[in-house]
Amino acid sequence: MAIDDTQAQSETGAYELQRPGRFREFWSYFSENRGAVAGLIVFLSFILIAIFADFIAPYSPTDQFRGNLLQPPFWQDGGSTKFLLGTDAVGRDMLSRLIHGARFSFFIGLIVVSLSLLGGVTIGLVAGFVGGWVEVMIMRLMDVILAFPSLLLALVMVAILGPSLINAMLAIAIVLQPQYVRLTRAAVLAELPKDYVTSARMVGSGTLRLMFITVLPNCLAPIIVQAALSFSTAILDAAALGFLGLGAQPPKPEWGTMLSEAREFILRAWWVVTLPGLAILITVLSINLMGDGLRDALDPKLKRS
């Protein structure tokens, strides 16, 4: 009982507060979580690297230095500071390829999240507002999509559409969509009976306005958290597709594709295998850390602990 009361209070309180106040409150919770802040910093540097890859990378990711095949990183015997992280089997600079790989991962994440979020939220809003058989059909369709293991569904879609990065992103976006639909619908159903919606209805707001301007901003919290989580899923799945040879195609410096090219050197040149995977892990980890922080800061239930 007591918890319910305070929760309701904090919700209405947040609703009445001005936006800057809301953000400051969010930030004060978020910044308390050291892991989340570290994740945010790594993620921001990842974005910067992705954007400025052309300026940061010492070489082009596709330039082949035929005299320096499989050269180890500079601190090992045989390495040189010319290629800080060594070269791969055809003499391309690892560091440059990793930096450009950040760009791929970033755009994959961005596009997949945008597509699945826009599609999923819209469908979820429709399901929540329209109700009836439309809602039943939508939710059953989402159940159908969820019945397939996501990576397998993406694989099959890529097999049909043809292996390419664009198709891989499209497939992953479709696979991630049901999560948004479910979340949005649940949030809408929870918000609809509340007083502010009723009063907006009485004033005569149109359905579209009600959907996107009145209700949506109040169920954003779980959607934002989901966006962070699906950003990392998108990067992981795209890398997995690349690894299986069904995502980005060589010689694109996509991390998963780089790993699959490097597999045969696994016992000879640790750096061509270790580094791309490490890049994926660090990126995904930072996003997940951030996602955890977001969830804790946005979820009023966990706030008080």
């Binding site: 892991g35 059953r140 369709l141 159940d143 159908v144 969820l146 019945a147 397939f148 293991p149 996501s150 990576l151 397998l152 569904l153 694989l155 099959v156 097999a159 049909i160 990392s232 992981l236 890398a239 997995a240 690894f243 299986l244 040879g245 069904l246 998963g256 790993l259 597999r263 696994i266 016992l267 640790w270 295998v273 270790t274 791309p276 995977g277 490490l278 994926i280 892990l281 995904v284 980890l285 996003i287 997940n288 850390l289 955890d292 602990s305």
Partner: protein
Amino acid sequence: MIQFVLKRLGTTIPTFIGVSIITFLFIRLIPGDPILLMAGERGMSDERHAKLLAQFGYDQPLWQQYWDYLSGMLRGDLGISFRTKRPVWDEFFALFPATLELSLCAIIFAVFIGIPSGIVAAIYRGKWPDQLLMSTALIGYSMPIFWWALLLIIFFSGTLGWTPVSGRISLMYFFPSGTGFMLIDAWQSGQAGAFKSAVQHLILPTVVLGTIPLAVIARQTRSAMLEVLSEDYIRTARAKGLSPFRINGLHALRNALIPVVTVIGLSVGTLLAGAILTETIFSWPGIGKWMVESIRARDYPVVQGGLMLIAAMVMFVNLFVDLLYGLINPKIRKS
């Protein structure tokens, strides 16, 4: 309880039909003619083309094809593989035990490490064991498992030479597969060293496949335990003077398990997705590797049938987990 079962079945059947329609349409959506695609660069005579179209039923109207597909499926007929010319259904069930064995081992590994880790983390909330365990879990949760597999191979197979890199058992051993589970078959064969070899082959794939479920289970157990530990009935248990072991391990865990079991059930989909990567890397002759090879070879009947059977399996497991949820949650069971 019966009502609960019926209601749950009521949502499973439409989903099943939806899945069958989607898998059916997939193949029809491919631009071009599947027979020509299969023939590839070589091409074929018109006569042979027409014969093959008729043989695979692609000359029928769409609804007729769907009906044949659905009724065939219920009879255990999912068509013939382009590549091997063997029935898809037979191939699937020949390979399935390998995937099942691997998945079961992975889930056991994940449960037996994940749940205790989650409990310990919850009990030591905010202290170093919690931080250590949950950081590790988050790393596991973020792990690209195909890379993780390569790392383990580098270390355990390359550097230490402890474990083999591929397959289910060393080629030295040969015995008829009785159960399809290599561990059991190897044990029953009585050949010296066979069982050990099977175990060695199984360890790395199990760890790789179990990593993400392990992380998910540990995190979920911790949060469920934390929620439960602040409940009134835990205070009652403490007021009875029970030992912490009994309070945490019985009173709290029993309640915390309810959401954890759901999560374990839901991770079956993740597990099968992971099996695709794990089996490909370790050359594990199971469903995942089979699907990837078929996708690469554009063996559409296999892709379609395999997808259908896998989705059906996921649905079946989810149904089972929901029923189990009803069983372990007395509020549903007795109402």
